[in-house]
Symmetry: C2
Subunit: 334 residues, 2 copies
């Protein structure tokens, strides 16, 4: 973070400031709905995760889309809380699947309690999200979120079977990313427009924005897991390598590998036989082929698509912020 960024407020913070009242209502609703009268384990686990903060990016997208189209009713709050609950449920199940130990700088729920609690509390949050969206009374919203849920689950299973498989293509990667990340981003923006009564073309633009933003966001995340475009390896890098995930920079490096490099990927990713120095070696191979830079260009291209998708929507203060947000998401690897 440089001084410039500190002085000029980040797009995320400007959106948060503009939507502060709504976000407060969302937080109140999240706290009320994650409670359970009968099973105290539930709020313990969810509080651990929800209170840890996170950027609340997804619910903010729903609020922003609804406000951009002048929504004055109460249900954008329900939908924003819905989206955050689905996200949190997914994180709980992801941490079980990935056998993760840390999330947002804290020990994961599966480590603090157990896998059982993470599975069942995830199910609980998912069903709570379902109750919240039913309350909006909008079948169109329910349809969008039901489809998004299926896409998310399908993407997660696809990622599971694609892991360790060096034959994974960029097309499969895109499908995984659309599932695990972009589906919830695009549903978040789309339902915000739908609840506000935006036209079909406008909700389509909101969907496209969320879809492209989600893909850019995930590519950046996958790049940062290898230390980003910079030379410095961050504290939390290497998770994907250890979990043998075929993320974009790896796929690009594998596609151009010579015999020796192929043997390296076969040993570390396909076989999972990893030793000290392998992560640095993976990065060196990627650098040699410009794999990180190529992935970075892909992220920038998706961010540009996110910006462009809002071209034909009405001018609005929030629209400018959403465009800035797309630039900002990829600025993390600029």
């Amino acid at each position: 973070m440089n001084h410039m960024q500190t002085a000029v407020q980040k797009p995320h913070d400007r959106l948060a400031a503009l939507l502060a009242g709504d976000m407060h209502a969302v937080n109140v609703m999240i706290r009320a709905r994650m409670a359970s009268q009968h099973a105290p384990r539930i709020p313990e686990v969810t509080a651990h995760l929800v209170e840890a903060g996170g950027k609340r990016l997804r619910p903010m997208l729903t609020l922003a889309a609804a406000r951009m189209y002048g929504y004055e009713g109460p249900y954008h709050i329900h939908l924003a809380a819905t989206v955050e609950f689905i996200h949190t449920a997914t994180l709980l199940h992801d941490d079980v699947v990935d056998e993760s130990q840390r999330r947002r700088g804290r020990p994961t729920a599966n480590l603090l309690w157990d896998n059982k609690s993470s599975v069942l509390v995830g199910d609980y949050l998912f069903s709570r999200s379902f109750q919240l969206m039913v309350e909006t009374g909008s079948l169109r919203v329910l349809d969008i979120l039901a489809n998004a849920s299926a896409t998310i689950a399908e993407g997660e299973v696809l990622q599971l079977t694609a892991a360790q498989d060096l034959a994974t293509t960029e097309a499969i990667y895109l499908q995984v990313v659309r599932g695990k990340t972009a589906a919830l981003f695009s549903a978040a923006t789309e339902v915000g427009g739908v609840i506000a009564g935006a036209s079909d073309a406008q909700t389509r633009a909101l969907f496209d924005y969320g879809d492209a933003l989600g893909i850019a966001f995930q590519i950046v995340d996958d790049l940062l897991d290898y230390g980003g475009a910079s030379d410095a390896l961050g504290k939390n890098t290497g998770d994907d390598f250890r979990e043998r995930k075929l993320t974009l920079p790896v796929i690009k490096a594998v596609a151009t590998a010579d015999t020796e490099e192929w043997a390296f990927w076969a040993r570390t990713i396909a076989k999972g036989d990893q030793k000290d120095g392998d992560l640095e070696q993976a990065r060196a191979i990627m650098a040699r082929h410009g794999a990180m830079e190529a992935a970075r260009q892909d992220a920038l291209s998706w961010a540009r698509r996110a910006v462009a998708s809002l071209d034909d929507t009405p001018d609005h203060q929030i629209k400018d912020m959403l465009r800035d947000l797309a630039d900002y998401v990829v600025a993390r690897i600029a």
Copy 2:
């Protein structure tokens, strides 16, 4: 099974025969909707579970309730498939939580594939069920199933925290059972009535029937896990004891335990220190206090409540079958 039961068709089989056309349509829909274009692991896992059979009791309840009120539309099929998907998703997650190795006489999915697949494919089936119910276009149905989902998840978490805890009361047990079993039974019958346009009083009766039937069903299941009321220990008994679950016969035995018996329960259930012969010893203690017989009486009482709840509904061939079904469910321990 005696000759009498073989000669006179069982209530479950008579219902199945009457609803054969509908059940066929449900099976076709289940097969179509559990497929995934992108992730072949999904149909592998679900087929393993769905094709294993099971009694399809829950979807049959939905079909029966809808037909009892003269429903002629297509959506009872969607709802029956929905209910079976929710049930299957719950089984997948249960087997992860219980670390089960066998289900319906076959190795569990978590054993054949891995816990990850069971968690994620369960999520997929749950979201598919969500899509199916949205297609019915009935917000009331969605409300009922959303609430049932939350009750199920809450019951599962409650069971997790109540396990190993000798202070678990019959009231807590009932809450767990209402969640893990009865909530889906009562939702299955209720949505069948709702989709058929039954009156509020009639759908309430259907709910009460499903609730009482589900509780009776689970108490019987829990009794059979200790070998039922007979002296013979069946092949699949002892799972609950090994998992240290506080089921009804155990709760009743603990409530009347003397000092020595209390020490036995504290060692085997609370501490989980179990050795050969402990299961037989548990059964002997239960027999001494009539705990099995008392739990059996509770099951019979819930079955009677199920039968009585249909008193004020119109006469119908299916109504008689549903009443017979309630008797049959407890006849397994008669």
